[in-house]
Symmetry: C2
Subunit: 310 residues, 2 copies
Amino acid sequence: MSHLALGAGGEFDAIRRLTALWGEQAQGIGDDAAVLTVPPGRSLVVSTDVSVEEVHFRRAWLTPEEIGWRATAAALSDLAAMGAEPLGVLWAGVIPDAWRDALDGLALGVGAATRHAGAAVVGGDLSRGVALSLGLTVLGAAARPLTRAGAKPGDVVWVTGRFGGPARALAAWEHGGRPTDDDRARFARPVPRIAQGLAAAAAGATAAIDVSDGLAQDAGHLAAASGVRIELRLDDLPLVPGGEPLAAAAGGEEYELVLTAPVSVDLAAALPPGVPVTRVGRVGMGHGVVTSLGDRVVEVVPGHDHFSRP
Amino acid sequence: MSHLALGAGGEFDAIRRLTALWGEQAQGIGDDAAVLTVPPGRSLVVSTDVSVEEVHFRRAWLTPEEIGWRATAAALSDLAAMGAEPLGVLWAGVIPDAWRDALDGLALGVGAATRHAGAAVVGGDLSRGVALSLGLTVLGAAARPLTRAGAKPGDVVWVTGRFGGPARALAAWEHGGRPTDDDRARFARPVPRIAQGLAAAAAGATAAIDVSDGLAQDAGHLAAASGVRIELRLDDLPLVPGGEPLAAAAGGEEYELVLTAPVSVDLAAALPPGVPVTRVGRVGMGHGVVTSLGDRVVEVVPGHDHFSRP
């Protein structure tokens, strides 16, 4: 909105400035709460996600715009995995004094990722604090939300995209090096697979999850929720150039989708072009995830679990 | 939900435990996003609010349950101010190692405030971090949301509750003392005025805001949004025993409602009994807030603005 009617005060000055920065990407900010319309016949789909400095990223790795984009894209990726169309984004920012000058950059990143997904920033909250954190809540609508719980024995397992970039970028930084531009971009500017999730739900996919913790680990959540076994053939996993299948199946932060669908549904044909859609396995009876490479069963060492005790 | 189907990992163990703690108060947790139904003919009303240790509270002041309750109640208060019925709550928690043992207490507080408002915990996210923060997103539904923008010259200004307790509790703590039990409870266990907001909207109130920053400051937001002047007679402001009107009009954290309504609408009769509903002023032409005491115009020194530069 072009005019924001708030009283005086530092927090309100900041909110006014961010709302001006967002321009048409901000809607209805300035009341106690945002008001949205969920289209008739659709369910509301909602998720919240928090990105914390020194836990999810380091300041030296990313620009403020990238930090804002990444946090927002990570949250929107949950809507993609539900086959939901994004409606709005709320940003709760804890902004330390040392990050004050980066506030506009963070906000531009939040706004850009929101715009890219076809949604609007509809609300938020700002607070001081000692460490930067970005809490993103995303709202979407779906006629038939795609859950983790619908995979059936006999279904095919598909993934979007190419794996291995973000983990390699992280490894480079953590060893004091610099990632390649491509790996860095995969970490810094993930693109939530919104169109893919919507098309998969429409085409008859039975379950989906996005890869935030690592392909094998997230496939494990899908297997648990569906009461099935997921069998992944890592030979078929699409990789970034030079990628290594075991590392790619363990690495988090991909924000690609794992989808299951009946054998009769060709998701590669049903999903929009431009992003690879690849068969990587099947759904069996049982539980857990079995990963194979060549003719051997291999163990994928679990990825990222930022809430584990150190 | 009684059974939560997630894979292995420390974060998931914590989520499982909290979901068990919440019992019937948790619904649908365990997928990428929560799915809710907004009743036909109602708008979705949504707000997000972040509470940060050392900014909004200190650990020594409150129990973990109170911290969880307070953060959730503060967020739900925004739904009350919109005349919305709560549907669901999402909690994004940043939990430092030093707070690990308090996690269950925090979650019980979040769950209790959610239950008190008739809603369910529908999702969340947990992360490590160096300072505790609780991001609460609240979802509600309203047939006709009550905004800040509808006050008209000639309307009467009403408030719920009695003012002055939370500011006096804060002052006691900040001077190294202990607040009275009543003042402490007003700070630690605010009750969002959900039923009052719903009844006010149904009775024909024209605008509302909740008092988080201070009566005078929040009335200023309502005045700015409505394009009117708010005239408050502090002689009429209901106070906690021993309360002082100027301090009570400046103090934040009240989570009471300021409501405007046409002269013909008696909000004291329309709102549920048990909480005082008091005429404290009128809406005039112009802008800003004018506060008077006796026959003098007095200045209310602005309350709490935690995002101001120190």
